[in-house]
């Protein structure tokens, strides 16, 4: 590969890279800060251009003999999202009109690196001086709230624009807006509130506009109650003219509450004369457009029928009935799509529905016709939009898709598929129950009666069995230790029994058993002398050792010599007292 080849390839790459910005994304949008003004007032026009890279030319605006545009400056910004840089540039213009009328600012465009971008046209209404609303002619107390409606006589479902204009001279510290009750209307907010300034009677006022689209739901005469705005505004206090008076220190917040005028509206019922069958309640002005992606297809190939209905009106009611049952096509419906756009003159809706049509046999077939009826309040008549009569040509499918069946006598038969989608003819709930699940009741108090015993019994059983097994598996040492711990309690019981039975023998056995248990020995043949030694080894005092030994000796003597039965009680008490101290001695050992 020679040098010339590299130069050629490098040039091609360079051209490619240089031309890349042409493919970069760019967009333009335009907005006005108000859609109504008087002759002599101004509106601000902002044109925003967003682009990835390249050079941006100053926007063009189509000239209008009654409108003038004064350039006010630009501002730029950059954003980086997911490592991708996007630049934005805003151009601001002051728009003035020299005559009243309804104007369209159109032809807004720019060139971004040889790519032409265009913005949607904007509308503005210019009123003559003296044509402004009442509030603009007399703003009493420097504040007012005016409610207007675009049309006082409408039909059910017809869109009307409810506008609130809040005019004040002083800036606000805070404000709270109470919307009137609009229970008999469906409402949609139109854009964000617009803030601008205007000069009325030589005084500059700040103005805020709020717009809503209202759709009356029933006929009658309605009064829309006043809206209320309350809060506090910043007013300048009296300047005493002192040397140290500060402009900012003289401002205070003054509470205010302003109510708008009520608005009357008459809603007429839609006429029944001329109402088409299947009318859905759609009111407004609409247009219909449709497109078939392919007018010639093969068998089992699909073509997409796209339907677009757009216009102004009660767009939530926009819904196009699906094409009906059709033997010529399998019809698959895509989820329809409704876009709502808030425009200055109302809610604009665009409904897009798509169906995939898959023909099953060759031939020429009509496309299912679609119809949409609506009521146009301006012409006061029902209109129907139709897709009209269209056909599609279906060619035989590819060989691999044809299924050939060998019939009787060896002849080849090509089956025709006659399957079709199940048509939905209606909808309803399933039949009432005659007792299925009558016993499926919620949990109640009775459930506690059976649940808790059943739930606790198994673990209780396991616990009892575990304890028994552990007791059975105890070692002799463990058993001796347990016996030693219980020795004193056993002694008390045995002494009391012996006393009750007046038995010196049992008393002696009880004392000997106590010592055997404490010493963890089997058998109980301990002597008084051994008792004294053991107690001494346990740290008991000499007196205690002697007393315990003497008591045991006394018991042994009583076994062989006749003793007074009455004395056994005193002896038992003495022994218990002594053994208590002995037990303490063993415990403290």
């Amino acid at each position: 590969m020679g040098k010339h080849h590299f130069i050629f390839i490098g040039s091609m790459l360079g051209i490619l890279l240089w031309s890349l910005p042409v493919w970069a994304a760019a967009s333009i949008s335009a907005r006005l800060d108000r859609d109504e003004m008087q002759v002599g007032e101004q509106a601000f026009l902002t044109i925003s251009i967003t682009y990835d890279s390249g050079r941006v030319q100053t926007p063009n605006i189509m000239e209008n003999p009654h409108l003038s545009y004064s350039y006010m400056g630009t501002s730029t910004s950059v954003s980086i999202v997911n490592m991708r840089r996007t630049d934005s540039i805003e151009y601001r213009y002051l728009v003035e009109a020299d005559a009243p009328g309804d104007y369209t600012i159109e032809g807004i465009s720019s060139v971004v690196d040889k790519q032409v971008v265009r913005a949607d046209p904007l509308r503005i209404k210019v009123l003559g001086q003296g044509q402004a609303g009442k509030s603009q002619q007399a703003v009493h107390g420097g504040i007012s709230l005016e409610a207007t409606i675009s049309n006082n006589e409408v039909y059910v479902g017809q869109q009307v624009i409810y506008k609130l204009k809040f005019i004040r001279k002083n800036p606000l510290a805070d404000a709270n807006y109470e919307q009137p009750e609009l229970g008999d209307f469906l409402t949609e907010k139109i854009g964000d509130q617009k803030d601008y300034e205007s000069v009325i009677g030589g005084v500059r006022y700040a103005i805020t506009e709020i717009k809503m689209a209202l759709f009356p739901t029933k006929p009658g005469h309605f009064t829309i109650d006043p809206a209320v705005i309350s809060g506090s505004m910043i007013v300048r206090g009296q300047n005493r003219g002192g040397l140290f008076d500060d402009f900012f220190m003289n401002q205070t917040a003054k509470p205010f509450s302003v109510k708008s005028n009520p608005v009357e509206i008459d809603v007429k019922p839609l006429p029944s004369a001329g109402r088409p069958a299947g009318f859905s309640g759609l009111v407004g002005q609409y247009q219909l457009g449709y497109d078939l992606s392919k007018k010639t297809v093969r068998v089992n190939e699909s073509t997409t029928l796209t339907l677009v209905v757009e216009g102004y009106g009660n767009v939530p009611n926009l819904a196009i009935p699906a094409p009906g049952n059709n033997n010529d096509f399998k019809i698959y419906e895509d989820k329809p799509h409704l876009d709502k756009e808030s425009r200055s003159d109302g809610i604009f809706g665009r409904y897009i529905a798509k169906w995939a049509l898959v023909p099953s046999a060759p031939g020429t077939y009509p496309i299912p016709e679609l119809r949409l009826s609506y009521f146009d309040p301006e012409t006061e008549e029902y209109k129907t939009l139709e897709t009209g009569h269209q056909t599609i040509e279906v060619l035989p499918g590819n060989n691999t898709e044809d299924i050939k069946v060998t019939g009787l006598g060896g002849t080849t038969v090509t089956p025709t598929t006659t399957k079709q989608q199940v048509a939905v003819l209606g909808e309803d709930v399933m039949a009432a129950s005659n007792g299925d699940y009558i016993d499926n009741t919620p949990l109640n108090r009775r459930d506690n009666l059976w649940f808790w015993p059943i739930f606790l019994l198994p673990p209780a059983t396991w616990l009892v069995m575990t304890i028994r097994r552990r007791r059975q598996n105890r070692s002799p040492e463990q058993l001796a230790k347990i016996r030693a711990n219980k020795a004193y309690a056993q002694l008390v019981n045995d002494i009391n029994d012996a006393q009750n039975q007046a038995s010196y023998e049992k008393m002696a056995t009880a004392v000997r058993s106590y010592y055997a248990a404490k010493l963890q020995q089997s058998g109980c043949a301990i002597t008084p002398q051994e008792v004294a030694v053991i107690l001494k080894a346990s740290g008991a005092g000499a007196a205690l050792c002697d007393t315990a030994a003497q008591q045991l000796a006394q018991l042994e003597k009583a076994l062989y010599l006749e003793q007074d039965a009455a004395a056994i009680g005193q002896l038992a008490a003495d022994i218990l007292a002594t053994m208590k101290e002995v037990d303490h001695a063993f415990h403290n050992k």
Partner: protein
Amino acid sequence: MRSTTNKLLMGALGLALILPAPLAKAADNSRLMSFMAATQAYNNGDYATAEKGFSDLIAQEGESGAVWYNLGNTYYRQGQNGAALWAFKEARKLAPRWDNLDTNIALVTQKAVDELPPLHPAWQRTLFFWHYIFSARERLVLLALCNLIFWSLLIIGRKRPNELTSLGQVISLVLLLAMGGSLIAENFFTREEGVIRTATAKIHSAGDVSSQVLFELHECTELFIENDQNGWLQISLSDGKRGWVAADDVAYRK
């Protein structure tokens, strides 16, 4: 003396267990008759009587999956789709695997206008499937059964330890915890749900009609109820929106 006392105690315990049974059976028969009467009214097209009959049954602790289902149908026939959806949801708590109920819920749900994520996201219904495919009573029975199996295997495993009993212990313990956790969650952590029953309901910032309207909801929209105060309900939606709505606009368990 001690044996006589024991006999008396055992006799009293036996009576205490047996005696409520006839009373309970009588109450069940009465409930069934009321149900059949209300259903007959529904089939005859007398929806007002049917609605009263089913509502009375529910108020008198006679509710069941079938009662709520038929009440839902009654509401549907009267054009109250929101109330119908709420009744069907209550029925599903008691009879969660009823195909007819699923069909009815799907029918009414598609009439909802507001586009919102479901109250119980799909991952939750998949991960904790037993909470949704078994009613509370069924889960309680399964809990008792798994508990019995677990402790029995524990006892058997002491005497004859082997891999099978160990595996059985693990499985029954897992099921026990699953059912127990589900019942605990239902009793302590489940939020009450409601359905918008009016064509449009305005959601305010406070429980006061003069407060700011934040947004509007439409019939058949499902929501959570957080608080109930002076005829207003504090609600939250599956997308996080919150507000106050008049209690009359919502179908919920009062």
